[in-house]
């Protein structure tokens, strides 16, 4: 190809040379003097380079050749100004890299189908009041079994008990390992079309409490050496024998709760408590059945269910597509971030376009000369576009590196705030996206300078003095417009970040109702095989007593679920005395009477105030069950009764009649919503209900991490086989509740800062350039008597136009962005005028600073030097 190309090239050269030579010869023969003959022949022939190029164009493949040439030329140009190239490439790399990183998250979380066969047919079932999705709740075991037996819209229906995290201890070779386990019903694996790779898995017979287990692929490999004969063998989990029923496929994860080490059968046959909404239910639609058909069938079934089960009086079963259900909470933040990062890319593009424009101005002469030598307008435009394409490609390449880093950061920040983050990574779609935005970036950056030069007539550019030629009014306007656009985009982002910041601040200031500082929490699970109800009751009281003896510890206690970790055990409660005796405590959603089982001095440890009566103590022996209620509960269940008289009233909850012995302050279950109503049970009176795995709370007057090792030692002294896990400070636990907001805030803040800096640089660049161009004019003005202040004012006025336009457009942009902010704000309106004004003020101040330097330089121009500095 290249050889043939060279031959063609030489051939053409010789052909054209021959033309001129023959013409000259003929003119000499006709009597012209040799020099004139040659000159006439040359003039007649015209622009040799142009003819050569036009002829080559007839071959049809010059495009490639010219591009290669342009590319070589562009590379040389960039190599000559490495500083400029570095700034541009870094700016673009940041923009492209960040955008691609956010896109890769968006793609994996929102766009990619769930990693199961025919994922579109997977749905999640809910129990809720008809037509009121805000009352969505888990299903009870009884209602689950009813739906599974009756509904025909589904191939299979399965329940998983991910409601509270469960674990089992596996001891191999004397090494204890805490396994994360999930209890599931028999059709679980089949519903997800992920039947265990080895072994039969679970069957209906297992649902009455069989001790069988399906191991995760990774656990099987690491703990059982990948032994294929493991199926059927018996292993000890928390001291109980379990038969291995199968090994799950390598990499199989639960769509909702993620990675597990093992799956156990859920004893749905024994789950007869009609009040216990605790099962997450998934189902696979039968082929050909639409969501609407399935929904209609569930509505019909719900009516039957209501008649059959009094507990289902107010609830219906509804469904949602599983994918939608999983990603819905992340949709708002991810869309917002994508918009934000796209705006950053836009600011970066504008900055680069401005830089290219400024640079191209310095090259007017070069272009005029090339044009005069026969380069066509299209050719020159292409040259500029090739240059910006080269810059964008290099930026894109570097950007991919930044994407890799960005994904790591996003995963870290996203943590539990965003589902499916593990699936984020490089794939063809992400790569195509990166290529696409690189191309768009190249065009967006290159088109402005290219358009400017398409219209320059070489003769004008060559004739005019270089400085005045570059200072065309149109170009100044274009650059000012670009700077204004940057300011507008930056204001949009800064205002958005401001709203998130204010909202986050509000969240932090929410009165949680309990102490957060210097509180350590941890879980310790008591294996049922070794701990019966009495031993559990004794242990859970003994442990806080022992922890209390550690130096620095002020109080310790246990609770079935920590505040701010969500709602659990929302049982109904009946009122047996007082003005509403015979009624039930009803809240908006009907499920929300939270039940907590506690031990030790939990109220003291969390500093929850005791408003009336007393807390549990040694008087709570087996005989008369007693309860402590939250102030909110007392007000709803015993309206008008003074708190001191609530003590002594009776209620029924958790299947027991309880005498109230105390009223305590409200605590929040979720920082976003008002505190719920809570009934506290004494663990020592309730240990036989189930193996409550209490979270322990240790308040200290020293930093919590300092007492962690003493806590472990104390537990080891009580029972060396127990495993302490989920050790965290209370502030970490509370922080988990606001992780989504923190994720959005940190990224939005970073994007806002980047665009802010770029906008300031952009404005500075435009003004500094304008001052340099007008040095001479300013000199003359000053020579004629203009004061320094006057000159400064002139420059600042130019800045004011840019800034003013930018701010007005930016405020509009902030209002538009507000749409995506609403899902993340708390107690703050996205269009809060104070935040907008503050953001605008901050940008104005920055803009003033950016404008002040050039203005000052202008006012210090020495007239004589400025006028002399003509060339």
């Amino acid at each position: 190809m290249l050889v043939r190309w060279r031959r063609h090239e030489q051939d053409l050269e010789r052909e054209l040379a021959a033309h001129v030579a023959m013409d000259t010869q003929e003119r000499i023969e006709a009597g012209d003097p040799p020099e004139t003959a040659r000159q006439t022949a040359m003039r007649d022939f015209g622009n040799l380079a142009r003819v050569t190029e036009d002829t080559r164009a007839a071959w049809g493949w010059t495009g490639v050749e010219q591009c290669a040439q342009d590319l070589r030329y562009a590379a040389r140009q960039l190599a000559r100004s490495p500083g400029f190239a570095g700034v541009v490439i870094t700016t673009l790399a940041l923009g492209i890299g960040a955008t691609t990183a956010v896109f890769s998250v968006l793609q994996a979380v929102l766009l990619a189908p769930l990693p199961y066969e025919q994922p579109g047919r997977l749905v999640r079932l809910y129990q809720q009041e008809p037509g009121n999705p805000s009352t969505r709740h888990y299903l009870t075991g009884v209602h689950f079994a009813f739906v599974r037996d009756q509904a025909t819209s589904f191939e299979t229906v399965a329940a998983l008990a991910n409601y509270s995290e469960k674990g089992r201890d596996l001891v191999t070779n004397g090494q204890g390992l805490r396994l994360r386990v999930l209890n599931v019903t028999s059709d679980y694996f089949h519903t997800l079309r992920s039947s265990p790779e080895r072994g039969p898995g679970f069957d209906r017979g297992d649902e009455s409490g069989a001790r069988r287990v399906v191991l995760a692929g990774a656990l099987w490999r690491t703990q059982f050496g990948g032994d294929p004969t493991v199926v059927g063998r018996t292993i000890q989990l928390s001291g109980e024998s379990h038969e291995i029923a199968g090994v799950a496929r390598e990499g199989f994860e639960d769509p909702i709760a993620g990675r597990f080490d093992a799956w156990l059968p859920y004893a749905v046959a024994r789950d007869t408590n009609e009040e216990n909404n605790s099962l997450t239910v998934i189902a696979r639609l039968r082929a050909g059945i639409t969501l609407e058909q399935a929904r209609a069938e569930l509505a019909t079934l719900s009516r039957v269910m209501k008649e059959r089960f009094p507990s289902a009086r107010r609830s219906a079963v509804d469904l949602a597509p599983l994918h939608e259900d999983l990603v819905a909470p992340a949709r708002g933040p991810l869309h917002l971030l994508f918009i934000a990062v796209a705006l950053v890319l836009l600011v970066a593009c504008v900055n680069v376009a401005n830089l290219l424009l400024a640079r191209a101005s310095g090259r007017v002469h070069e272009f005029a000369t090339r044009s005069a030598l026969g380069a066509g307008t299209r050719r020159l435009c292409r040259q500029l576009l090739v240059e910006s394409a080269l810059l964008a490609s290099l930026g894109g390449l570097l950007g991919l590196g930044i994407t890799r880093l960005g994904v790591v950061v996003l995963r870290d920040l996203g943590g539990e705030a965003v589902p499916r983050l593990d699936e984020v990574g490089f794939n063809p779609i992400v790569l195509s996206f990166a290529v696409a935005i690189t191309t768009i970036t190249a065009v967006a950056c290159g088109v402005a300078p290219a358009l400017r030069f398409a219209r320059i007539a070489p003769i004008d550019a060559l004739r005019l003095h270089s400085r005045s030629a570059t200072g065309t009014r149109g170009q100044g306007r274009l650059r000012s417009a670009l700077a204004a656009a940057q300011l507008a985009l930056a204001l949009t982002l800064v205002a958005g970040a401001g709203v998130l910041l204010a909202s986050f601040y509000r969240l932090q200031r929410v009165d949680l109702g309990f102490r957060v500082d210097r509180v350590l929490t941890f879980d310790v699970n008591l294996p049922s095989a070794r701990y019966d109800a009495d031993r559990r009751a004794a242990f859970q009281e003994e442990l806080p007593r022992r922890l209390r003896t550690i130096p620095g510890v002020t109080a310790a206690g246990g609770i079935s679920f920590l505040p701010t970790t969500g709602d659990y055990h929302g049982w109904n409660a009946a009122i047996l005395s007082g003005p509403r005796a015979g009624g039930a405590v009803e809240t908006k959603d009907g499920f929300n009477i939270q039940q907590r089982t506690i031990s030790g001095d939990i109220f003291a440890a969390l500093e929850i105030p005791v408003l009336a009566g007393r807390t549990f103590d040694a008087r709570e022996d087996g005989a008369a069950p007693r309860a402590i209620v939250s102030a909110g509960f007392a007000r709803v269940a015993f309206p008008g009764v003074p708190l001191s008289d609530v003590v002594g009233q009776r209620i029924r909850a958790g299947g027991r009649v309880l005498e109230i012995i105390g009223v305590v302050g409200d605590v929040t279950l979720d920082v976003h919503v008002p505190p719920a109503l809570v009934v506290y049970h004494a663990h020592r009176q309730f240990a036989d209900n189930r193996n409550w795995s209490l979270a322990h709370v240790v308040a200290a007057d020293v930093p919590p991490e300092r007492i962690a090792s003493s806590v472990r030692a104390e537990i080891a002294a009580m029972d060396p086989e127990l495993i302490v896990h989920r050790v965290a400070s209370m502030s970490e636990v509370v922080g988990r509740g606001t992780r989504r907001e923190r994720f959005a805030l940190v990224l939005m803040g970073a994007f806002a800062c980047v665009s802010w800096v770029l906008a300031a640089l952009g404005l500075y660049g435009v003004l500094a350039y304008a001052v340099r161009q007008r040095t001479q004019e300013i000199g003359i003005r000053m020579a004629l008597g203009a004061t320094a202040a006057h000159v400064r004012l002139t420059i600042l006025r130019q800045a004011a136009v840019v800034v003013g336009t930018g701010l007005v457009v930016g405020i509009g942009g902030a209002f538009l962005l507000g749409r995506w902010l609403t899902s993340l704000t708390f107690g703050v309106s996205p269009s809060d005028a104070r935040i907008l004004l503050l953001a605008a003020g901050m940008l104005t101040a920055t803009a003033l600073a950016a404008a002040w330097l050039p203005a000052r330089r202008a006012s210090r121009v020495a007239p004589r030097i400025a006028i002399q500095e003509r060339c």
């Binding site: 053409l12 033309h19 023959m22 022939f45 015209g46 003819v51 002829t55 164009a57």
Partner: protein, 117 residues
């Protein structure tokens, strides 16, 4: 500005230049300079073909297979690239000639003086 005008003329001549070249080569292989001179002389100096349009046209016609080119020594002993009409080139010439005749006739009909005025 001169550049601009020449470009305009090429556009106007685009279709016919090919035909003129093919016509000129009817009488035997010829090199570029001679083709340009031939057209100029036969048009009694009315048509002046610029190198800038001639060579692209020659190369385009060669690409389309209507012309063959080979290097030969001219009558004056200089090496030059000679273009020769191919068989399909002859057919193309006949085609274009016919089209041109019809075109000129049509224009003449439209432009004839109106009778009775």
């Amino acid at each position: 500005m001169a550049l601009k005008q020449r470009q305009d003329r090429i556009d106007v001549l685009q279709g016919t230049l090919d035909m003129l070249i093919l016509q000129t080569l009817q009488w035997g292989p010829q090199h570029g300079l001679r083709i340009a001179q031939g057209i100029r002389q036969r048009s009694e100096e009315l048509l002046k073909i610029e190198a800038g349009s001639l060579y692209p046209a020659l190369h385009r016609l060669e690409q389309q297979g209507w012309l063959n080119a080979e290097w030969k020594v001219s009558e004056k002993g200089q090496r030059a690239k000679y273009y020769r009409l191919t068989r399909s080139g002859k057919k193309q010439l006949a085609d274009e000639h016919g089209k041109w005749e019809r075109f000129v006739n049509a224009i003449r009909l439209v432009m004839r003086p109106t009778e009775g005025r």
